[in-house]
C-alpha cells in the first residue's frame, strides 16, 4: 500500500523565548519535526512493513524545511521518499492555506491508499489540517485513530473518542489523524541514518502548484504574546518529610484552603 504521511517542521516549543515586553521570540529556536507527527510517521512505516508498498513523507512550510539536517531527520525515520513545498509565503500559514497547499501537492503525488497526519502540530495544535485536507480531497476523513489495519483494500480502524471507542471499516483511500499513543516511535538506527541521504527528495514552491482559491489567508493574526504571569510566593519548605508535611499543612490552613 502507498501511504502519504504529513508532518510539520516547527520551532521547538521549548526554545520559545518570552521577552520582558511580552513579545515572543523564535530567533533561538531549532526547527524540529512536530512531536506528534513522529507517531504518524511510525504508523505509516509499520503499515508498509506489514503490507508492502512505500511511504511518501510530505510537508509544506517556510525555508527551514529545506535544511538538509531536517530532511535527513525525517527520512531516517523510515519514509522512502520526501516531498516538500518550500516557500516563505507559507510562514504563519493558517490551517486553510496549509490544507489547500497539501491538497495541491497530494494531487501531484500519484496513487495512494492512505494519508496519515498527526493529532495536532506542536506549535499550533489546532487539530485541523488533516480534517480540512480530507474534506478538500473528498475522501473519508477521521481523527482520533488509535489503531489502523489494512486488509482487502479496506482500512479497519479504532477511533478513541471521549466516551467510547468506535471500530470502523473505512473505504480507502482515506485521511486519518492518529492519536499520540498509537505507537512508540523508534529511534533512527545508524543504518537508517546512512540510508537517509540517498533517498529521493522532491522540492516544489507555491508557484509549482495549483492551490485552490489562491493564497489568501482566512485568518488575520493580530498579536502573539506571552500569557499574563501570576507572581507566586515561591516559599520553599525544608526539613524531614514529617516536618515538611506539618509545615505545608500549617501554610495551607492559614491560606484557608484545607
Amino acid at each position: 500500500m502507498n501511504i502519504i504521511v504529513c508532518y510539520k517542521l516547527v520551532p521547538d516549543p521549548e526554545d520559545v523565548v518570552a521577552k520582558p515586553d511580552g513579545s515572543i521570540s523564535l530567533d533561538q529556536a531549532e526547527w524540529i519535526i512536530s512531536d506528534y507527527d513522529l507517531m504518524a510517521i511510525e504508523a505509516a512505516v509499520q503499515l508498509v512493513e506489514a503490507n508492502g508498498g512505500k511511504v511518501m513523507a510530505l510537508s509544506v512550510g517556510p525555508s527551514q524545511l529545506a535544511n538538509s539536517k531536517a530532511k535527513k531527520d525525517v527520512l531516517s525515520r523510515g519514509p522512502d521518499e520526501l516531498y516538500l513545498v518550500v516557500d516563505d509565503g507559507l510562514r504563519d500559514a493558517d490551517t486553510s492555506l496549509t490544507a489547500r497547499t497539501l491538497a495541491a501537492a497530494v494531487a501531484k503525488l500519484g496513487e495512494f491508499d492512505l494519508i496519515l497526519t498527526g493529532e495536532g502540530s506542536a506549535d499550533l495544535y489546532f487539530q485541523q489540517v488533516g480534517m480540512q485536507l480530507g474534506e478538500l480531497l473528498g475522501l473519508p476523513t477521521f481523527n482520533a485513530i488509535s489503531k489502523v489495519e489494512w486488509s482487502g483494500g479496506k482500512l479497519a480502524v479504532e477511533r478513541s473518542l471521549e466516551d467510547e471507542v468506535e471500530a470502523l471499516e473505512v473505504p480507502a483511500p482515506a485521511v486519518l489523524a492518529v492519536t499520540t499513543d498509537i505507537n512508540q516511535p523508534r529511534l533512527p538506527s545508524m543504518k537508517e541514518i546512512l540510508k537517509a541521504g540517498k533517498k529521493p527528495v522532491v522540492e516544489w514552491t507555491l508557484g509549482d502548484l495549483a492551490v485552490q482559491d489562491g493564497l489568501a489567508q482566512r485568518v488575520e493574526v493580530l498579536s502573539v504574546r506571552s500569557p499574563k504571569q501570576v507572581n507566586r510566593k515561591q516559599i520553599r519548605i525544608e526539613g524531614k518529610p514529617e516536618e515538611a508535611a506539618q509545615a505545608l499543612i500549617g501554610h495551607l490552613s492559614k491560606e484557608g484552603v484545607l
Binding site: 468506535e166 471499516e169 506571552s226 500569557p227 510566593k233 515538611a244 495551607l252
Partner: protein, 313 residues
Amino acid sequence: MAKEMWVFAEKPALQAELLACAKTLGDAAAAVVLGNQAAVDQAFAQGADKVFWLGEKPDHLLLDDYVPTLAALLKEQKPAGMLVGATRRGKAIAGRLGAALGVTVLADVKKFIAEGDSLQVSHMVFGGAAVRLEKAVTDIMLATVSFGIVEALPPDPSRKGEVVKVAFVEPKWKAVLRERKPRPPSSVNLAAAKKVVCPGRGIAKKEDLEMIFELARLLEAEVGATRPLTEGLDWLPRERYIGVSGAFVKPDLYLGVGVSGQAQHTVGITESRVIVAINKDGEAPLFSQSDYGIVGDLYQIVPALINALKARK
C-alpha cells in the same frame, strides 16, 4: 439584518455553555440539534432562540455523517458563525465544514472579543507559551470551543422558540460502524473542582496512584493528571489531564506531585489560587510557579502528608 450565532455540540452540558456564549456574540442564538423532542426542548431551556432540528440519529449513522447536511444548512442560512463543541468528533466536523464551505475555523477558542463589527478571538499557541489574538476574515466563522470558557445560563424550561426541520443530505462516503466499545463513564469535573491533586510522571507505578487518591480523599480534592499518565501510560482516563490540550482548572488549591511543570501543563493551572509543588528535583520549573514547594521524594512526602492529615481529623 439580525446576526445569528449557532451552536452545535454532541454533549448537552457543552451545548448549554456554547448557547450562553452565542447569546453574547449575536442578536440571536440558534442550536443545531440532533435528537428527540426532549433534546429540542432542552436546547430552548438552555437559551436557544431557534432550533434547527436534524431529527433523531439512526444507530448505524455516525455524527460525522451529518457533515454534508450541516454544510448545506450553513450555506443556505448564512449565520454569522457556528460554535462547535470541541470534543474529538466536534473538531473533525468543524474542520471538514470549514473546508467544505471555504471559511475560517478558529480552533479551541479561549476568549471572544467583539470589536465593533468584527470578532476577535484568542487561543494558546506554542504549547501554552503564547496567546494569539486573531480575527476571522470570512463571512461565516466556525470556532471550536471547549468546556469552561463561559458559564451556562440557569435552565428555563418555559422558554420556547421556532423549530426548523432540516432534511438529511446523503453523504458521498460512509464508514461502516463495526462495534462501539463504551469507555467507563468518567464523572470528573475538573473545571469545577475546588481542590486538585495532580500526579505526574514522578509516580513510578500505576499502583502507587492509590496513595494519591488517598491524599485527595483526605483533602476532599479531585484527582487530575499530567498528560503522560493518561495518554501513553493509560493509567487514568483522559478527562483527567490538565493543560493546553486538556482541562483548564481554577481551584483554590492545586497540588502537583512529581510534576515537572512544562508550559503545556501549567497553562491549565495558572488560575489556581494556591499552587503547591512536590518534586525531588529542586530545579523543576513548577517550583518557580508555585506558592509552596517541597523538594523531596514524593514516596516519603505523600505518606507523611497522609499521616499528618489523618492526625488532624
